[in-house]
Amino acid sequence: MSVFPQLLYGFCILLLISCSTTANRYSNNSSTEINAESEGHYKFDAWRLQENEGFAAINALLVEADLLIENKSYDAAADKLERVLRIKPDYAPAWSRLSWLALESNAASRSLQMARRSNSFAYTNPELQFLNWSFIRTASRILQDEESYAQAVLKMKSLKAF
C-alpha cells in the first residue's frame, strides 16, 4: 500500500514535466544549446578564424566585421561579410554570421535562408551546422513556422552527438 503514494507522486512529477515541455512548443529547453538570442553575444566557437595562409584576406575582413558588430554597425558588418563571400562564396562561417546579423536586425526570414545556405556548405562541420540550426530554430519560432522549428530541434538533437 505504501507504493501507491510514491507512484502518485511520480505520476504528478511526470505530468508537470510534460506540461512544462508542451506548454511552449518553441521553448529553448536545453541548457547545452547555443543560445543565439543572447544579446550582444556573437563570438561563437564555430566562427573561429581559419589559421591558414590562404585565409589571410578573409580573416582580415572578418576581424573588421567583428569590430563593426561590436559597434552595432550591422549594415557595415554585412558589407564586409559580403566581401568575404565574393572572395570565397562557399565560406560557410560568413553565411552563418549573416544569418546571425539578420536575426539581430529582426529579419527572421532572411536569417533562416542564410543559415540554410551556410549549412549547404558546412556538411563536414557539425559544430557550425548545430549553430546554424539554432538560428533556424529561433527564426522559425519568430516566423511561427512549426514544421521548420520541429526540424531544427530534431537536427540539433542529432548533431549533439558530435
Partner: protein, 810 residues
C-alpha cells in the same frame, strides 16, 4: 521672407515696359516739336498781327517752354529710373533664385565594382593590365611614386593605388608589389616594407553617368579642397584683382582695351571671374552690347550679395572645360579626373597650368585633341607664373620642357545595356529625375573585364556565325553564388543605346525549359529519378477548343523507352511533354517561380517545350538558381547608392530564397554537366578545360538560338536571333553556345563541381533499362540519386565494355 511670385515681372513684362518707355521717349519730343512748330507758326502769324511785340514776352515764352521741357525730362527720367529699377530687381531675383537654390543638375555617377586583390586571387596578367588601364593608371618606368601609377616587370606588378571614398568609408592609397603565376596572385607585399598585404581594394572605375537633358557633367569641389597653388594660378591668369574689385574691373577693361588696340586683335579680355561666371550661368554667348551691360549689372549684384569665396568656388565648378562625346566636362574637379586621371589636389604644377590654360578656349587648347596648342598656352601660363614669382625660372624651364600627358579612356564603352539594368533596379527607389539631377554616386556590380570580354565575344562570334549584319545577340553574365550581374550586352554593337535585348527581348526559350520540367519531376522523388524510364513514342495532346497538338523530336524520330537522364541529355521533346503533363503544368510554373522567374505564364502544354517568351535576364535568374544549387539570389546590379557628399543613402544587400529541393537541383545539375560532355553541348568539352554545366535551346524553325550554363564562378545566358523573328539557321549549339564558350573561356577560372552531400548517392545504371548495373557493363552510366530513390532492380551485363584493361582483370 519669400517673394510673392506675382510681384516678380517676367522677362516679357520687362521687355514690354522697356519698349513702352522707348515709345514714350520717341513720341514726346515729336509732340513737343509739333506743339513747338505749331506754336511757331502761330507765333509767326501773331508776329505778323502784332508786329511790335516786346522782347520780354518772347523770353517769357522761351522760359515757359524750357520749364515744360524740363518737367517732361524729369518725368521721362523718373519713368526710366523706375523701369531700370524694376529691371535691376528682376536681375537680382534671377541671381538670388539660382544662387540660393540648386545651381546645377548633377548627373548620377555610376561606378564599376572595385577590384580586390589578395594572395591566391585568380587573375591573369592580361586582366590586371586591362583593369589598370580601365582605371586610368599610368605606366611608369621607375617605382610608382604617385597615386594611380604602376610598373610591370614581367609577372611582377608594382602599383600605387588611389584614395577612394566607398560606401563603407575611405580606402587609402597603398603601394603594393604582386606576382602572378599561372593566372593566380602568388605574392602580395607592401613595396616599401615588404610586409605581406592581406587585401587591397582599388578605386572603383567610373563607368558612366545618368545625365539630365543638357548632358553637363561635373564633380563638385569645395574651395577648401582646391590647392592654393591652383587658386593662385587661376587668379593670376584670369583675374588678378579678384579680391579687390566689385564685380567689374575698369582697370582691367582699360588695360585689355589698350592691349587689344595695340595688337590689332583680341588678345586679352577684361572680364573678371565674376563676369565670366555671370555669363556662363545666366547669359548666352552672343557678343552684344545689351549682354555686356547685363553682365556688368549682374556681376555687381552678385558681388553685392555673395561672398567672394562662394563666387570663386562656383566659378571653379561651373567652368566649361571640354567635351567627351555628348557629355560636356564642367568644373576643374571633373576636368582634372578626365584629362589626367587624378583629383585636382594631386596634380603637378604644370598639369594645373594646363587646366587653367584651357579656360581661354576649352576646345582649342584641349590637351587631348590639340596637345600642341595646349602646350603653347600652358607655357604662356608658366611664364606668367614665373614673372609673378609663383615658380622659379629653373622650374618654369623644366616644366615647359615636359609634354602634356593625358590619360586614355578605356577601350570599353559605357556599357549601356548594363546601365539599363542599373536604372531598372534603382527605379523602384528613385525617380528618373533624381537619378539625373541629385549627383548620386552609384556603385554597381559590373566587372569591367568580364563586360569587355563579353562585348568582344558577341561582336567577334556573330561575325563568324553569319554574314547577315541583322543577326542580333544578347548576353547576361553573373556571379552564380550571389546573383551579382557582371556584364550585360543587349546588341551586336554593345555601345548601342537603343533597344536592349538582354532586358526587353522576350523570345521563345526552347529546350532551356527542360531542366525546369525535370526538376519539377525530380522533386517528386518517389515517382521520378534520372533512371526513370520515359516514353518517347508518338503523342497527341488534346487541348480544349483548339487543334490537337502533336509534338515532335528535333530529329523527327521516336526513341521508345528512354531514361529521364537520356531524354535530358539528348533534349528529346516528347518525354519532356509527357513528364510536364504528368507532374502538372501548374507545378512546372511553380518551380519556375521558385527558381526566380517573376512574370506571368500560361499553363499550355507547349510550355514544356519552351514555347513561352522570356528575356535573357529572366532566364539568367532561373539558371542562377541552378548554378547556386537551388538557392536563388535575386539579380543585383547595384551594391550601394551615396549622395553627392558621399553619405550612404541605400544599400542593396545580398538576399537569398530557397524554395526548391536543393538535392533535386544537384541531380539535375549532374545531368547538365553531362550535356556539356556527351549531350547536345558536347563540343564545349573540346574547347574548355573547366568542368561546366549547361543546356542548349532552339525554338521552332531555328528562330532563336540559346545557351545557358555555368562554371564554378560564372553563370551566363546567351541568345542569338533576328529581331523580325525570321529563322537563323542556327541551333543552340551552333549559335549562342559559341558566344557562350568564347565568354567562359576568357573569364571563368573555376570548375563547377557537384557538392558532396550525404543525401546524394551515385550509382551505375544501365541506360537501356534504368536498372542498377556494373561499371564495366556496356551503356553503363553513373547517375546521382537522392538517397533512397535508387532503382531496386539490377541488370546483369548484356555485354561488357570493350576495355582491355578491365577485361584483363575480369
Amino acid at each position: 521672407m519669400g517673394i510673392m511670385p506675382g510681384l516678380i515681372p517676367d522677362i516679357g513684362d520687362i521687355k514690354s515696359t522697356i519698349s513702352s518707355a522707348l515709345i514714350i521717349k520717341c513720341i514726346m519730343p515729336t509732340k513737343k516739336s509739333k506743339q513747338h512748330s505749331g506754336h511757331n507758326s502761330r507765333h509767326v502769324n501773331s508776329s505778323k498781327k502784332r508786329k511790335h511785340s516786346p522782347r520780354k514776352h518772347h523770353r517769357k515764352r522761351k522760359s515757359r517752354k524750357y520749364k515744360k521741357l524740363k518737367r517732361y525730362s524729369y518725368k521721362i527720367l523718373l519713368l526710366l529710373s523706375i523701369v531700370f529699377l524694376i529691371y535691376l530687381y528682376y536681375l537680382d531675383h534671377q541671381i538670388k533664385q539660382k544662387f540660393e537654390g540648386r545651381i546645377w543638375q548633377l548627373p548620377a555617377h555610376v561606378y564599376a565594382r572595385p577590384l580586390e586583390l589578395y594572395s591566391g586571387k585568380a587573375i591573369s596578367a592580361e586582366q590586371l593590365l586591362y583593369e589598370l588601364e580601365y582605371l586610368n593608371y599610368q605606366q611608369v618606368n621607375g617605382l610608382p611614386t604617385k597615386q594611380a601609377q604602376y610598373r610591370q616587370l614581367k609577372d611582377v606588378f608594382e602599383i600605387k593605388t588611389r584614395d577612394f571614398v566607398f560606401w563603407d568609408g575611405t580606402e587609402n592609397s597603398r603601394a603594393i608589389r604582386l606576382r602572378i603565376n599561372n593566372r593566380k596572385i602568388v605574392e602580395l607585399n607592401d613595396i616599401y616594407t615588404s610586409a605581406k598585404v592581406d587585401l587591397v581594394r582599388f578605386d572603383a572605375a567610373y563607368l558612366s553617368g545618368i545625365f539630365p537633358a543638357h548632358s553637363q557633367d561635373r564633380l563638385l569641389l569645395k574651395l577648401d579642397d582646391v590647392p592654393d597653388m591652383f587658386i593662385k594660378i587661376l587668379l593670376l591668369v584670369e583675374d588678378r584683382r579678384f579680391f579687390s574689385h566689385a564685380g567689374i574691373d575698369p582697370k582691367s577693361i582699360a588695360r585689355a582695351f589698350v592691349v587689344n588696340i595695340m595688337s590689332g586683335s583680341t588678345v586679352q579680355g577684361g572680364s573678371t571671374i565674376t563676369q565670366q561666371l555671370v555669363k556662363n550661368l545666366f547669359l548666352d554667348q552672343q557678343k552684344s552690347f545689351v549682354r555686356k551691360i547685363n553682365e556688368a549689372l549682374m556681376s555687381l549684384l552678385l558681388e553685392l550679395h555673395y561672398d567672394k569665396k562662394l563666387i570663386l568656388q562656383t566659378y571653379i565648378n561651373e567652368i566649361y572645360l571640354g567635351q567627351d562625346g555628348k557629355r560636356s566636362i564642367h568644373g576643374f574637379a571633373l576636368a582634372s579626373e578626365y584629362y589626367f586621371g587624378e583629383s585636382l589636389k594631386n596634380l603637378s604644377i604644370e598639369e594645373m597650368a594646363t587646366l587653367v590654360a584651357m579656360v581661354k578656349g576649352a576646345s582649342y587648347y584641349n590637351p587631348k585633341r590639340n596637345p600642341g596648342h595646349a602646350i603653347s598656352r600652358r607655357n604662356t601660363v608658366l611664364s606668367m607664373m614665373q614673372a609673378e614669382n609663383l615658380i622659379s625660372q629653373r622650374q618654369s624651364e623644366a616644366f615647359q620642357k615636359k609634354p602634356v600627358v593625358t590619360v586614355n579612356q578605356a577601350t570599353m564603352g559605357s556599357a549601356p545595356a548594363f546601365i539599363d539594368a542599373v536604372k531598372d533596379q534603382l527605379h523602384k527607389d528613385y525617380q528618373a529625375q533624381d537619378l539625373q539631377s541629385e549627383g548620386l554616386r552609384i556603385f554597381t556590380t559590373l566587372d569591367p573585364y568580364v563586360q569587355y570580354k563579353t562585348e568582344l565575344a558577341v561582336k567577334n562570334t556573330l561575325n563568324k556565325l553569319s554574314g547577315n549584319a541583322a543577326l542580333q545577340a544578347a548576353a547576361v553574365v553573373l556571379s552564380p553564388l550571389n546573383g551579382e550581374l557582371l556584364a550585360v550586352v543587349g546588341d551586336r554593337n554593345p555601345s548601342y543605346k537603343g533597344f536592349n535585348r538582354a532586358l526587353n527581348a522576350k523570345r521563345q526559350i526552347g529546350s532551356l525549359i527542360k531542366p525546369v520540367v525535370y526538376l519539377t519531376a525530380l522533386q517528386q522523388s518517389s515517382s521520378y529519378t534520372l533512371a526513370t524510364m520515359l516514353d518517347d513514342s508518338p503523342l497527341t495532346v488534346n487541348i480544349p477548343q483548339q487543334k490537337n497538338w502533336q509534338p515532335q523530336n528535333y530529329d523527327k524520330k521516336y526513341h521508345g523507352k528512354v531514361t529521364l537522364y537520356e531524354a535530358l541529355l539528348k533534349s528529346y521533346n516528347i518525354p519532356a511533354v509527357r513528364t510536364g503533363i504528368d507532374v502538372g503544368l501548374d507545378k512546372v510554373i511553380q518551380t519556375m517561380k521558385a527558381l526566380g522567374y517573376d512574370d506571368k505564364i500560361a499553363p499550355y502544354p507547349s510550355l514544356t517545350l519552351g514555347a513561352t517568351p522570356m528575356s535573357p535576364m529572366q532566364l539568367a535568374s532561373i539558371y542562377q538558381s541552378f548554378s547556386a544549387n537551388g538557392f536563388f539570389h535575386p539579380l543585383r546590379s547595384v551594391h550601394a547608392v551615396l549622395d553627392k557628399n558621399g553619405k550612404p543613402l541605400q544599400r542593396y544587400p545580398l538576399t537569398i530564397e530557397n524554395q526548391v529541393n536543393a538535392e533535386a537541383v544537384i541531380v539535375v545539375n549532374s545531368a547538365l554537366i553531362d550535356i556539356t560532355k556527351m549531350g547536345t553541348a558536347r563540343k564545349l568539352s573540346n574547347h574548355l578545360s573547366l568542368q561546366i554545366a549547361g543546356k542548349t535551346g532552339t525554338s521552332d524553325d531555328l528562330r532563336d538560338s540559346w545557351f545557358a550554363g555555368f562554371s564554378g564562378d560564372i553563370t551566363a545566358v546567351v541568345w542569338t536571333g533576328f529581331d523580325d523573328n525570321s529563322p537563323t539557321g542556327l541551333t543552340g549549339a551552333s549559335g549562342a553556345m559559341k558566344i557562350w564558350q568564347s565568354i567562359i573561356s576568357q573569364v571563368a577560372y573555376k570548375s563547377y563541381n557537384l557538392p558532396e552531400m550525404p543525401q546524394l548517392k551515385s550509382e551505375w545504371i544501365a541506360m537501356k533499362t534504368g536498372h542498377l548495373t556494373q561499371e564495366y557493363c556496356e551503356n553503363a552510366v553513373q547517375l546521382l540519386f537522392i538517397d533512397g530513390t535508387q532503382p531496386q532492380q539490377t541488370d546483369e551485363c548484356a555485354a561488357k565494355r570493350n576495355n582491355w584493361f578491365l577485361n584483363l582483370f575480369n
